[in-house]
């Protein structure tokens, strides 16, 4: 008699032919070279996203949307619900680390030119997920309905409103009216827990399917470095087990952070209170926020703010479309121009984030 798990496998295999899939997994190899470490950041981002889904669903069991209840329900979660403080702190910490991991993943793919043919779609879906991650952060930030979140949302939506033509309708759409009110909270809640996860899941599926289907990219000059000798590691189980070990470490780090530095709730939002001193956006918006401060209020007839927003929009678009204009790497060159652009972008982001943090 075959063991039960074997019989269960055979039962499924007979119906959906798992054989091909198993064979495919068995033949998948991950290149081993001095840049291999970057391969792990995609997996870490994925793990952090899964953590967000789990802790997010848990928080949903107690969270109440609405001006009169949101702050109180988060207070209830962190003070009354068993381990509520932990779940909420993990959700907040993971949100930040997720964006950090996505940043690292994106830049490593950018600098190794892994986006080039045939992986353009993987890159574009990744970039779209990155923008969604920022929107996830922005919409989730308001949900506890505290003072900082209230003004951050006012400023953020006001910036969106400055965009010519589509700005005003977008502001009204995001706020659910002219002002930031309970209607805004309802919208952000719906966006955060239904719209964004839905779109994100579709993009993530495409992204992961392509990674599996096309295999890991090798850096452009892989051949030169190893003189044609390609060291590899089987994806299953070697790479996957390393991935899982790293996930375990990441979860431990998050648990430690959440325990030692629990996320603050602050004071309840008051639509008729002044903005508190020392208010700042989340760190991942800080560099844009700081740049906007340096642009003069008016540049000839155009609002400085509008110009800054448009510049960031164009930069983001060009960044997303890099596989389509980077002809140099496509032809097998080192793509030095793209590398320099990337270095400038990284330095710009780090420098302005630090300046914004200190000011």
């Amino acid at each position: 008699m075959k063991p039960l798990w074997k019989r269960a496998y055979d039962w499924v295999d007979e119906r959906v032919e798992l054989g091909g899939l198993v064979e495919f997994m068995g033949k998948k190899y991950v290149p081993v070279h001095r840049h291999s470490v970057w391969y792990y950041f995609g997996g870490v981002s994925l793990f952090l996203f899964i953590l967000q889904v789990i802790t997010g669903i848990l928080l949903l069991m107690y969270y109440k949307s609405g001006e009169e209840q949101a702050f109180e329900s988060v207070q209830f979660i962190t003070s009354k619900v068993q381990f509520g403080w932990l779940i909420r702190s993990i959700h907040s910490w993971t949100a930040n680390l997720f964006i950090l991991a996505a940043f690292i993943h994106m830049f490593s793919v950018y600098f190794t030119k892994a986006y080039k043919n045939p992986r353009e779609i993987t890159w574009v879906t990744g970039m779209l997920m990155f923008f969604l991650a920022l929107f996830f952060g922005f919409s989730g930030y308001l949900l506890p309905w505290n003072e900082l979140a209230f003004f951050a949302t006012k400023v953020g939506t006001d910036i969106a409103g400055a965009i010519p033509i589509i700005g005003k309708p977008m502001l009204v759409f995001l706020r659910g009216g002219e002002e930031v009110t309970g209607a805004t909270l309802s919208r952000m809640f719906g966006i955060h827990i239904a719209i964004l996860p839905g779109i994100f899941t579709v993009l993530l599926s495409i992204h992961l399917l392509l990674v599996q289907r096309q295999g890991m990219s090798e850096p452009t000059h892989f051949g030169d470095e190893t003189k044609g000798e390609m060291k590899t590691m089987p994806f299953f189980p070697n790479f996957l087990l390393r991935d899982l070990l790293l996930w375990l470490l990441v979860l431990n780090v998050i648990a430690i952070l959440a325990v030692i530095f629990p996320w603050e709730l602050g004071r309840k939002a008051d639509a008729f209170g002044s903005a508190p001193a020392g208010i700042k956006p989340e760190w991942y918006f800080l560099f844009m926020f700081q740049t906007l401060k340096y642009i003069p209020a008016k540049i000839s007839i155009i609002d400085g703010e509008v110009l800054g927003i448009l510049a960031f929009g164009v930069a983001g678009m060009l960044w997303t479309l890099v596989p389509f204009w980077d002809r140099q790497s496509e032809r097998g060159g080192r793509g030095r121009f793209v590398t320099y652009v990337g270095i400038v972008a990284v330095l710009f982001i780090i420098l302005l984030t630090i300046v914004g943090w200190l000011s």
């Binding site: 400023v155 008729f272 209170g273 002044s274 020392g278 209020a297």
Partner: protein
């Protein structure tokens, strides 16, 4: 032969006709589906009671050299009582990015915490990013009551 070609041409014409009818129909159908969705997302205009003046408080209860935020309809207004005891009222919504300003005793001016915008006590933008001055409101003192109303 000629008959065939004619027939072919006729068929082509019919096919094109069908293509336009079906394509146009699909387009109209999409619009009929999408329009209600977009219309739904647009928040309805809510009837607001037009506020022309509000009672901010009692003269005796407001300290000299202080500022407070007063609810004026659904907008915040900042009421400042100067060191000389005079009242002035200005819109409390920063003209830069919509934050709510506050009175800073130590600086003797109006300050926005979000981006370090500064206004003098007449609401003129004197430093930082604000592009326009704060809108002025009229303050009327009746006996002991401080009333704020819109400037006409």
């Amino acid at each position: 032969m000629t008959n065939d070609v004619e027939q072919g041409g006729e068929q082509e014409g019919r096919r094109d006709f069908l293509k336009y009818v079906l394509g146009g129909g699909l387009l109209a159908w999409s619009a009929a589906v999408l329009y209600p969705i977009f219309a739904f997302l647009k928040p309805p205009k809510q009837a607001e009671v037009e506020v022309t003046s509000v009672k901010a408080g009692k003269v005796s209860a407001i300290e000299k050299d202080s500022g407070m935020i007063v609810r004026f309809g659904n907008k915040p207004v900042i009421l400042i009582r100067g060191a000389d005891g005079d009242f002035r009222a200005l819109s409390a919504t920063c003209t830069h990015l919509d934050c709510t300003v506050q009175y800073r005793k130590d600086m003797g001016l109006i300050w926005c915490a979000c981006h370090n915008g500064r206004y003098d006590l007449n609401g003129r933008n004197i430093a930082g990013p604000p592009p326009r001055p704060l809108e002025e409101y009229r303050v009327i003192v009746q006996d002991d009551d401080v009333m704020i109303s819109r400037k006409v």
